[in-house]
Symmetry: D2
């Protein structure tokens, strides 16, 4: 006997005639029903994007996969089929501050984020009580360890907990090239400044000194190149010149947590496509 | 010989299994290629919405229409097929102020609004030079005339100019029941207040007296019931308590023109669905 | 020997010539130094508002108070002098949901809110672990008790803890006329809807059914007249028609907590003036 | 016999004790009445800013000026006294596009901008009908002329028309070092990108390729260093990844005109202070 489930299909390929019918036909032939579909062709680069939420019995899934596997080569397509009811297992990396962590932990608890958190990893012990309060394992991995050793520990923890993705919730450390490549497109970082405006250290000091009237935050996929990965979401907030640098930082924290939450939600709903170094969010 | 054209298909019907494949299959069988598609089922009311932009040769159009006509009854569906390259012919109704008119006239001229304006109709002569500057016929229809007489004049002008829709760009007059019913879903009004908060006269005075911190504007389909038609778009702006009523009104004008422009753009792109007294914008 | 302190002076009176010099002269004569001053005369109602942050030695304070007391009658002025370094003692009232509570508790802990929380009072036991985690006394006062009995308990708790103000953080109960009058201008409520648009129950359902494109929240002083007190701050967020009522509520929670936080900050910084049923925030 | 007038006083100086009383006392002694005052000390740099709107009879003005002249050296202060009812005489520089020009011309006409426009100067003839429609002299100064010759022509036009300030409304040409120095702090430019993010040419193409989710515009004082002068105001707008570069540019135009309008308004109201390369807007 079969169970009915919901699935998300993502397709990215060069545009050509008849794609939507070919794809949705394949879905229908295999007994799946589409509930929500967004398709867009970027005419600037001639690339076709499709995201569909569908409902079907579980034995239809292998057939649908087979169908798309057959088309894959001919259409030069990248595609994935996700179980929409699966809660993605995410590890949280933090450091000294917890405003982003609380935002994510509370949002998940309230049903606003379709994920499970597997653990909190930090280079400081200060987050341990928070982990305990939310019933999460806590792992201290000091930044003073050599990078390869840190990476080894990270991967042990992540694999043991069947972690599928990572959120750098103000972790403030550069990840190694090896680690970001291994977890490519599965690490989301929040940058406490408005990329690509202010990179690197003390962006709020930079912003204040420049007299900007709007500050922002950027959530992006982490790469070894600090604060440079593909942008997932951005948030902004107007600031007054009567505010101090300290107040800029406080306002920035508000923007950061909102922006990270939104980026994570989009990613967990499989709305983020990556193509040639930039994202397309549908 | 045939020409290739772009068309927008809109479908609204009760949800049921297999609709997307049935619809897009019908499109593909008749040789049309989908460029952009948004489908959404509102699970709160179990209604299916679909908007597709497609490309096909002109002789495919009657076949596609036939295809959908056949399904119409069985699926209890409302559907339209629009020529995406047709510039909708709109009449502008104005009164004393011209900020919304300029916004629309300039946006259309800059290619941001896919429409033609057929004329300016006003109850005051003051807009005549503006009409002349933009090479539009101008018609003075005084509000002092009896409503039925006004309606008669409106319809003469509108039919003679093959007008397909109406924008009330701060026209400030209540339209008759007969007229709004005749032009049902084809009259867009901008209300200088944030519906449903402040209805009727002097909404900025009402807002100021109440000490609101945000003012807004609402673009909606006009009905005989003043300022009560289905909302198409809303815009807002924060205001300071150090502002005077006069400044509220100035800020309000900015919000009004932006909001009306956006609503009109959405409607001209056939993104606005109407169902049981509210819109769904895809 | 004296200590230097910071003080906030608020003045509200009918406008007349020479007020700023009279007031700041009085401050300077008594040895206080102004650090930040905002003065505004609303020409629409001819009322003068002044808020000044000043620094002085503690023995200057009684002299400044005497100075203003003498002018009080002549200028028909309302004035207060607040110790800017005093942390206002606030009680939190909650019910089933904790998103606003976390926002306030964490913001205070991060130094973003100049207050102390004295306790959490609730009609449900569910908030007790939260109170314990933040080291706050928790009091269960069931809503099933008669109002006068509830009021009695509230006041016992509030007076015993030297509470100076109350935040209704989604408390969801109407307060008695007696209680709101006793705590007049000292109870801040967050209304989960965009006042004065949607009053009363289920505002998100109302908003969804109406097809609004923007939802909001309103923080206001509580009065016995539900959701009708003077507005302190408002926040908004655009919503998509593809969102469900459930998603409206989630987005609404985000707006609510941000709006309540901002309103509370403004009030704690003594920026909120009340005049004839509306606030002026400087 | 004397006339009553309104004046704006701006003061910037190192902070020290008693400044507000000293300044407002000086104003009161000379018979002027303050209507609106904002004073702020930036504790990050220890600088005092004051802006006051006052009312007085015209023969008080020289006395007030004398008063502040005497204090000037002792307080190391920069100060100006402006006639608040004087309409600043501004020249508009444009090129091919007119969206910013219309915004400013219409806003001034509607009473939202306290200025007069003296002329439109352009490197293209295309703006001439617009100038004529608004009854403004039009001057064609081709960019193919050598810079010194252009500067000479500019200055002739500007001085003959008693122009006091310049708005570069999408003029798209780099001004010479000599010219920007001569008109220092009196040239306002709108940059069609979100400074300091995207400098130089084709910022919308840069933004699109980077996949930014928010685009913006920055109004700033022009310097010879392209797009690098002190920021006066910034505006932003969220964009969808389903938008084309062409749509980015359209949205950008909306943001540009709003941002330039707001910056100009702030400057004309004498709210913009310049200190060490950044502005403070009170």
């Amino acid at each position: 006997m079969n169970n009915t489930g919901k699935f998300v299909l993502k397709i990215l390929c060069p545009d050509q005639s008849g794609l939507v019918a070919a794809f949705t036909g394949g879905i229908a032939q295999n007994g799946a029903n589409i509930l929500d579909l967004t398709q867009h062709t970027s005419e600037d680069i001639n690339i076709f994007f499709l995201r569909a939420l569908m409902e079907c019995e579980s034995d239809a899934v292998p057939k649908i996969k087979e169908h798309f596997s057959k088309m894959e080569k001919e259409k030069s397509m990248q595609w994935q089929l996700y179980d929409a009811e699966h809660k993605t297992r995410l590890a949280l990396f933090g450091s000294n501050t917890d405003h982003c962590l609380y935002e994510l932990l509370l949002s998940r608890r309230d049903g606003a984020l379709p994920c499970e958190f597997t653990c909190i990893i930090s280079n400081h012990a200060v987050l341990e009580p928070l982990a305990r309060f939310f019933n999460l394992p806590f792992f201290l991995v000091p930044s003073t360890l050599p990078k390869p050793e840190q990476d080894k520990k990270f991967n042990e923890i992540l694999h043991a907990s069947q972690t599928e993705g990572i959120v750098l919730a103000r972790y403030m450390q550069i990840m190694s090239k090896e680690f970001t490549e291994e977890w490519n497109e599965r690490i989301i970082n929040i940058h406490h400044g408005f990329l690509p405006a202010f990179k690197g250290a003390k962006p709020y000091h930079q912003a204040w000194a420049k007299g900007v009237k709007i500050i922002g935050a950027t959530a992006h996929f982490a790469t070894a190149d600090l604060d440079q990965g593909p942008i997932i979401w951005q948030g902004v907030q107007q600031v007054a010149d009567t505010g101090s640098i300290e107040q800029f930082i406080q306002i920035g924290k508000e923007v950061e947590k909102r922006t990270l939450l939104q980026a994570l939600k989009l990613w967990l709903e499989h709305r983020v496509f990556l193509y040639e170094g930039r994202t397309f969010v549908l």
